[in-house]
């Protein structure tokens, strides 16, 4: 095998020494021969001998020079290059020497660039990942704080993303969940048409669609450059429509009779004026008739104006800028706005909902507290909500005397400089169709300032905000096969799976034992969704035996007031949507939920059967043993609850997945076959 590059040093030296030796020896023989032949003397003889040795000496000296100035530096360079390639961070070697000395700066440059590029490459990946994660986190935060409800669905109308506002908007609707179809959430007929006609350039289309007793305005747009994904945003059009159809329409209609009666009135007055000039007795009856007309029309006009006043009042109550507020939120927001000296509003009494323009109210109360504090000791205020008829009263309470009306009247002229167009206090009061007054409390110690505001029919505190980063998007959903493709050929990883478990009054389901708790969770794209759960107690309509309470910890009191099984099953069926079911020892749980009226005719995966099929030789296929075998983590206290066990089952499924795939079991069909065989064997061995 021949290789390029430098020959070995020993060979070069050997060659050189041989060449030099031969030349010197040849020179010596030649010199001796010439000496014998010519028999020179003196200088001639010396010249002859030196001349004969000159060739060998030259070869020796040139070799020596080449070795020192070229071959040794070349060898060193080779070593340095090799070291540089193998380990760029190795300590620096000597710079090139001999005739290669001039290469020194170039080599240094190459080495330094190589080192810098290499470290840049190493950090670039980490930086890229970090920045991608940061961008993702910022986008997620942005989406979650966005007040517009929005959904993103893929070309098969499966939900890939939704934000917190959408969750609030569709609260109570079980159709909202990753991987679920849009039609589970919204009536699809009108939507389907709009979706099929959506232009690809991202321009929006609007439509109105009914949903849960509301009219929703939906704005749809196809995401440009995507795989047919669609972004939907929602607003509740019911309010503005009822406004348009209600008070506004009535107001517009009021104008017609108003014109009518005014016309009658002015015409009658004109006629009466003309009659005055013909002051004879013939006209007295006519005059009386005109006077009656004027009286009638005047009264009707008065009534109409009163009605319009009422309508305008209603309109203000329904005003779009007045939004529902939870009083505790309001007091807190107000307290945060007040300057630290006058802070400390303590909400007392029962909190309630009311309607108002929050920024305007806060500016108003801010000004009010400043006004009050000029009179009163700095002892803080209490905020209380009192309920009235159709109204709530926002009361600010302090220790001291009531404010005199003339001061309040004066204060109402104050401009609120922090609000747009600098309205006066009175303007904000008018906007809320409200007024303000002060009264002393019965205890003789306290006084309060009262502002009535429109109440709204809403019960209970606002929903607790969701945990900071729940799972709300999964763009892998778009890569799932289209929903109409045969489920059987679905890859296991792409399956939507709902893992479920039941707790029952006992094990004898055929003898009247029944479900008391049903829990389920969802696996989408081989990922267990943390927050997408179904967790429902069931009223068994019979006492729970203490023996079974020992296992699941549920007592009669725990299930009191829970819905009956058929209602829960209907909801559970909705929750499943198009997913397949998963359970451990599914036969039992399926029997527990086999109930007249609700059909669960969907494929069922059983982790017990799969485990048996995979590890025939092993014992212990119960959930506890398997959780230990696969080192599945679950929070303490969650086992033997329906939801807790459903989660462990889902984790178990995810642990079994790679083992199934390693054996070439990739589709649902193959899995169901495997499962069926395990079932047969078990039956055979049992019999």
């Amino acid at each position: 095998m021949t290789r390029g590059g430098l020959p070995k040093r020993q060979r070069l030296i050997g060659l050189w020494l041989i060449l030099s030796g031969i030349s010197l020896l040849g020179g010596a023989i030649f010199a001796a021969w010439l000496d014998a032949q010519l028999a020179p003397t003196g200088m001639t003889r010396l010249a002859l001998w030196l001349g004969s040795f000159s060739g060998g000496a030259t070869i020796f000296l040139v070799g020596l020079l080449l070795e020192r100035m070229l071959f040794t530096p070349l060898r060193h360079l080779q070593v340095q290059l090799a070291r540089l390639v193998a380990n760029p961070d190795a300590r620096d070697e000597h710079p090139p020497e001999g005739w290669l000395k001039a290469l020194g700066p170039d080599l240094r440059r190459v080495r330094e660039s190589w080192r810098v590029d290499r470290s840049r490459l190493a950090t670039a990946h980490a930086d890229g990942a970090r920045s991608a994660a940061r961008i993702r986190q910022e986008l997620e935060t942005l989406l979650q704080v966005l007040e517009t409800p929005l959904l993103l669905c893929d070309q098969h109308r499966r939900l890939m993303l939704f934000n917190q506002a959408a969750e609030d908007f569709f609260i109570g609707n079980t159709g909202l969940g990753l991987g679920k179809r849009l039609e589970a959430l919204l009536p699809v007929s009108s939507l389907q048409h709009a979706l099929s006609q959506l232009p690809n350039d991202g321009s929006p289309r609007e439509l109105l669609t009914p949903c849960d007793n509301r009219w929703l305005k939906v704005i749809l747009r196809r995401v440009p450059g995507s795989d047919g994904e669609t972004l939907l945003t929602f607003s509740d059009a019911t309010a503005s429509w009822s406004n348009e159809m209600g008070v506004r329409a009535e107001l517009a209609n009021m104008l017609t009779p108003l014109r009518q009666h005014t016309a009658s009135l002015t015409s009658a007055a004109d006629a009466l004026i003309q009659l005055r000039h013909q002051n004879d007795t013939d006209t007295s009856t006519l005059r009386q008739r005109f006077e009656r007309v004027i009286h009638e029309e005047g009264t009707t006009l008065g009534d109409n104006v009163a009605k319009i006043g009422q309508l305008l009042d209603d309109l203000q109550h329904q005003g779009e800028r007045l939004t529902p507020m939870w009083s505790n939120d309001f007091w807190q927001a107000l307290d945060e706005r007040l300057d630290p000296e006058h802070r400390l509003i303590t909400p007392v009494g029962m909190p309630a909902w009311f309607k108002g323009d929050a920024p305007a109210l806060i500016a108003l109360f801010d000004s009010l507290v400043k006004q009050l504090s000029a009179h009163l000791p700095d002892s803080g205020f209490e905020g209380e909500i009192c309920l009235g008829n159709k109204r709530v009263y926002l009361d600010l309470i302090w220790r001291g005397k009531a404010l005199p009306e003339h001061e309040l009247a004066e204060w109402q002229h104050q401009p609120l400089a922090t609000l747009p167009l600098t309205p006066k206090v009175a303007d904000v009061l008018r906007q809320h169709a409200s007024d303000i007054w002060s009264l002393a409390d019965n205890d003789g110690l306290h006084a309060r300032l009262r502002m009535p505001l429109p109440a709204i029919e809403r019960v209970g505190a606002p929903r607790e905000p969701a945990p900071p980063r729940p799972e709300f998007h999964d763009f892998g959903i778009a890569d799932l096969p289209p929903p109409d493709e045969a489920l059987a050929n679905r890859s296991l990883r792409s399956l939507d799976v709902v893992a479920f478990d039941t707790e029952t009054t006992g094990l004898e389901l055929r003898r009247g034992d029944t479900v008391i708790s049903l829990g389920a969770c969802r696996v989408v794209n081989a990922r267990l969704l943390a927050s997408d759960v179904f967790d429902q107690k069931v009223d068994p309509k019979r006492p729970i035996p203490p023996a079974s309470t020992v296992i699941h910890g549920l007592t009669d009191a725990d299930v009191a007031g829970a819905p009956p099984l058929d209602i829960v099953l209907t909801h559970f069926r909705e929750y499943i949507g198009e997913a397949v079911l998963l359970a451990h020892n599914a036969a039992f749980d399926l029997l527990a939920i086999s109930h007249k009226g609700v059909a669960f005719d969907i494929p069922v995966i059983d982790t017990l059967l799969i485990s048996r099929a995979l590890d025939e030789a092993l014992d212990g296929h119960d959930l506890d043993s398997l959780a230990q075998r696969y080192d599945l983590a679950f929070p303490p206290g969650t086992r033997h609850t329906a939801l807790g066990d459903a989660r462990v089952t889902a984790e178990l499924w995810l642990a079994l997945l790679p083992r199934l795939e390693a054996r070439g079991i990739d589709t649902l069909e193959q899995l169901l076959t495997l499962q069926a065989n395990a079932f047969d064997r078990q039956d055979a061995s049992a019999s």
């Binding site: 017609t256 009518q260 002015t266 015409s267």
Partner: protein
């Protein structure tokens, strides 16, 4: 003496209009709905119509359209009276062939002037 037909279902305004038109020197006949108006047009052959738009049953627009479709009344001066002040109604009235359009409430003086002007135009 020119004859004016006042069509309105509000007796209060009919009373005033009748009196004012008489004072202005016109003979006045009245009708309180669309059918009556059409009958009066053929029976009394008025020279001008004051026609309210919102009438019980047949609307003022309807009456206007019918009168304009008959040769005998195609040129009859008609002033529409209405308590609806919307532009679109004015446009509709004019499009259907009204000679003028007056929104309630109105000045009786200018109404009388309009009637006189229209009648003068009609009989040069």
């Amino acid at each position: 003496m020119a004859k004016v037909l006042v069509v309105d279902d509000e007796p209060n305004i009919v009373l005033s209009l009748e009196f004012l038109m008489e004072q202005a020197g016109f003979e006045v006949v009245t009708a309180e709905d669309g059918e009556q108006a059409l009958e009066q047009v053929s029976a009394a052959s008025p020279d001008l119509l004051l026609l309210d738009i919102s009438l019980p049953g047949m609307s003022g627009f309807d009456v206007l359209e019918r009168l304009r479709s008959q040769d005998a009344t195609a040129q009859l001066p008609i002033i529409m009276l209405t308590a609806h002040g919307r532009d679109v109604e004015r446009e509709k009235g004019m499009a259907l062939g009204a000679d003028d359009y007056i929104t309630k409430p109105f000045s009786t003086q200018s109404l009388v002037e309009k009637v006189k002007a229209l009648l003068a135009e009609d009989q040069p």
